[in-house]
């Protein structure tokens, strides 16, 4: 904001927070400290910092919250001070701008006009009374859309544009505060978290990551999300081409919305937005057990899950999976301890059955088939502050445009009489884009000059 010369103001608090020096200091402090969080990795475990930086630095990192710099007490304090500073600056400057906007641009006399940087004067060869009837309408037409007032024995014409542009600086600076408010609303009333869903599964809650609810807690959605299918596609060069989850929303058991979401193309329902964020391939293996007592059991089991083998009563599961070994899938199967038989694990390859002894039974295990199932990772967000942020962003850009490119231009023409002869003074002022304005006034000058000469008044 522009410099204000008044230094005496009753309230020391207001004085302190309206100082532009404080603003610059805070900005520099914010810029300098922002570097920290780009150099020290953020959001890692305490163990990570201890190992990487040693005990001394680790203590500093913990004390100053450098593992989450931008949400640390001191960084948030700097941001808040900056917001306060901006707000006070805005409030304190308002009266000056009001005066500026209200000031009477028609209250000027010829002497003031002559002192302006852009001015031109014509001395007419005739008394004003003789030409006024024709001159005044002529000048009004040349100037276009002017206001007029009797001034110091003559008439002052004024054409003014862009007076409102003085408010641009407020729009610009207030927008920064608005953006910060939007962020604040989001952090107080926003919800964010994750959902992990196997294909075919559904959920009515998500795991909080911050905002409302402690990290790790379950937050209800109020409806149900189901992942019908997850699809991943790759380009020929191996780079990922598409991650897609086919989602369906159920409310009170009824299907209310469905959408195939991709990165950059989320689903929205009741203020919640679901984003595609990650995925994991989970192999599912179809096993056949033939037990020595004649029982035959077929099971489909996802990797890393534990099951109980009926008919024997032993726990088992898949601890490792290879989709391709010599062209066929293979899985490492484990069996728990069972009545004297120690735990055992072995690789089972499709097409190669294995016979093992568990307790007093012989079990033949074979892999019938294996297929890849997917688990999709979704991000969930509800941010009531986001539209406030967008309003602020829009205001910021508009503010910039007004502040830098909309000039306040004033062009005056005074006609009067001095020493018994008519006088015409043209003068102009612009607060920015001065070169372009000078050109405009020059043109005006030429038109007036030509008109005066045509009538032989000069």
């Amino acid at each position: 904001m522009k410099k204000t010369n008044q230094s005496s103001h009753g309230n020391p608090f207001v004085n302190f927070f309206s100082s532009i020096k404080l603003a610059v200091f805070l900005l520099i402090a914010l810029a300098a400290t922002s570097v920290i969080g780009t150099v020290i990795p953020q959001g890692e475990s305490f163990q990570f910092y201890l190992e990487r930086y040693g005990p001394g630095m680790y203590k500093l990192i913990r004390t100053l919250h450098l593992y989450d710099t931008y949400h640390s007490w001191w960084y948030v304090t700097l941001l808040s001070l900056f917001a306060l500073n901006l707000t006070v600056c805005i409030g304190r400057r308002l009266p000056f701008t009001l005066n500026l906007v209200r000031r009477d641009s028609l209250g000027l006399g010829p002497d003031k006009l002559r002192r302006m940087r852009i001015n031109h004067q014509w001395k007419l060869g005739k008394p004003l009374a003789e030409v006024k009837g024709e001159l005044l309408p002529l000048l009004k037409e040349v100037l276009g859309g002017a206001r007029e007032r009797e001034q110091e024995g003559g008439v002052l014409l004024l054409k003014e544009s862009g007076k409102w542009s003085y408010w641009g600086i407020y729009l610009l600076h207030a927008s920064i505060v608005i953006i910060m408010l939007g962020a604040l609303v989001g952090s107080f009333w926003g919800k964010k978290g994750n959902i992990v869903l196997m294909e075919g599964d559904s959920t009515d809650h998500f795991i909080s990551r911050g905002g409302v609810g402690k990290p790790g807690s379950r937050v209800p959605l109020g409806f149900e999300v189901k992942c019908e299918r997850f699809v991943v596609q790759f380009y020929d060069n191996g780079a990922p081409k598409e991650f897609r989850s086919d989602l369906v929303i159920y409310e009170d058991g009824k299907k209310v919305k469905e959408k195939d979401i991709r990165v950059n193309d989320p689903l929205e329902y009741k203020g919640f937005t679901f984003y595609q964020s990650s995925y994991q391939g989970i192999p599912e293996v179809l096993l056949k057990f033939v037990i020595s007592d004649g029982q035959e059991i077929n099971v489909s089991i996802p990797a890393y899950e534990q099951r109980l083998l009926k008919g024997v009563g032993v726990a088992y599961g898949i601890m490792q999976f290879m989709p391709q070994i010599h062209g066929v899938p293979a899985a490492k199967i484990w069996f728990g301890q069972f009545r004297g038989t120690p735990p055992q694990a072995f690789w089972l390859v499709k097409g190669h059955d294995r016979e093992i002894k568990i307790g007093d039974k012989i079990v033949k295990v074979s892999m019938v088939d294996a297929k890849q199932k997917y688990m999709t990772g979704l991000q969930v967000k509800k941010d009531p502050g986001v539209w406030i942020v967008w309003v602020g962003c829009l205001g910021l850009i508009l503010g910039f445009i007004v502040v830098f490119w909309i000039p306040h231009r004033r062009t005056w023409i005074w006609i009067g009489e001095e020493e018994g002869k008519g006088v015409v003074i043209l003068a102009g002022q612009a607060n920015k884009g001065k070169l372009a304005f000078e050109e405009t006034v020059k043109e005006l000058n030429l038109r007036i000059d030509t008109a005066l000469r045509e009538r032989s008044w000069v």
Binding site: K3, T38, K192, E242, N264, T273, Y275, V386, C393
Partner: protein, 280 residues
């Protein structure tokens, strides 16, 4: 295979190097005709480069995964050079002085040379990964790079101002524009860059919100763009409020561009984050 985008972009690299050299000659020996030639060569370079960029766009479609050539480090360097030349030519046309070219075109030439010759920069056309498949990519990259280009030109003007010093007489130094003129140009260019940088940050936020669900995640690239924004914000206030002019602003303009440079390269090479695809 005929003319490919690499052929044309390779040509434009040499044309820009030639143009930078001609602008330098024009300045040092004050040869008006060389200056006119320099402008002609620069315009030619811009045309060839534009054709190269368009051809690259077409080629990507022929490869089956068409996208605007704004998706990796190579393409961004090429686009940066393109913007810088464009911003400079507009400036030259407006102020009718060619000396600034000796300080502005080298940025474009260096960017193209780095893109073409550095082994770190892969120039192959690659398909877009899911995170980049968005129309916001184009808006975000274009706005950011117009900003960067303006700041590069402002930095060139800053260097020019410092070189100019307050020497009088008729040496090569004093053939530079008046200090008052350089100062005003620098100010205008910074304002121009600031508006584009702001728009670039905002389009990035809109995009991030759509792809990841957060408009701001303090990723190193985001943070550094904010730092850059603050540096130029402080520069503008130093001028408006403290009345700083000339030398101090020239220094700030150079510091600002260093910050731009770090946002662009330093973050990619030294820090990790969401913008990692910009480093290949």
């Amino acid at each position: 295979m005929g003319i490919t985008n690499s052929t044309l972009l390779g040509f434009s690299t040499f044309i820009y190097l030639g143009a930078a050299f001609l602008y330098l000659l024009h300045w040092v020996f004050r040869l008006k005709k060389v200056g006119v030639l320099a402008t002609g060569v620069t315009v030619l370079g811009l045309l060839v480069q534009t054709a190269g960029i368009l051809l690259r766009w077409v080629e990507s479609y022929k490869m089956g995964y068409g996208h605007a050539p704004l998706s990796n480090l190579y393409e961004s360097l090429v686009f940066f050079a393109w913007c810088t030349v464009l911003v400079y030519l507009v400036l030259e046309w407006r102020i009718k002085t060619r000396v600034v070219g000796a300080f502005a075109t080298p940025f474009a030439a260096m960017s193209m040379a780095y893109a073409s010759f550095s082994p770190r920069v892969r120039d192959s056309i690659e398909p877009l990964i899911p995170a980049l498949q968005s129309n916001w990519l184009i808006a975000h990259v274009i706005t950011c790079f117009i900003g960067y280009a303006a700041f590069a030109v402002a930095c060139g003007l800053g260097i020019m101002y410092l070189v100019r010093g307050d020497s009088k007489g008729d040496g090569i130094i004093s053939s530079l524009p008046e200090r008052r003129v350089i100062d005003s140009l620098m100010h205008q260019t910074i304002i121009f860059g600031m508006i584009w940088l702001s728009t670039g940050i905002i389009t990035g936020a809109v995009w991030a919100n759509q792809a990841w669900g957060t408009y701001w995640s303090w990723d190193p690239k985001e943070t550094w763009s904010l730092i850059t924004w603050i540096v130029y914000g402080v520069t503008l206030h130093a001028r408006f409020v403290q009345g700083w002019r000339g030398k101090k602003i020239a220094v700030l303009s150079i510091i600002g561009f260093l910050s731009v440079f770090f946002t662009y390269f330093g973050v990619n090479f030294l820090l990790s984050g969401l913008h990692s695809y910009g480093s290949q």
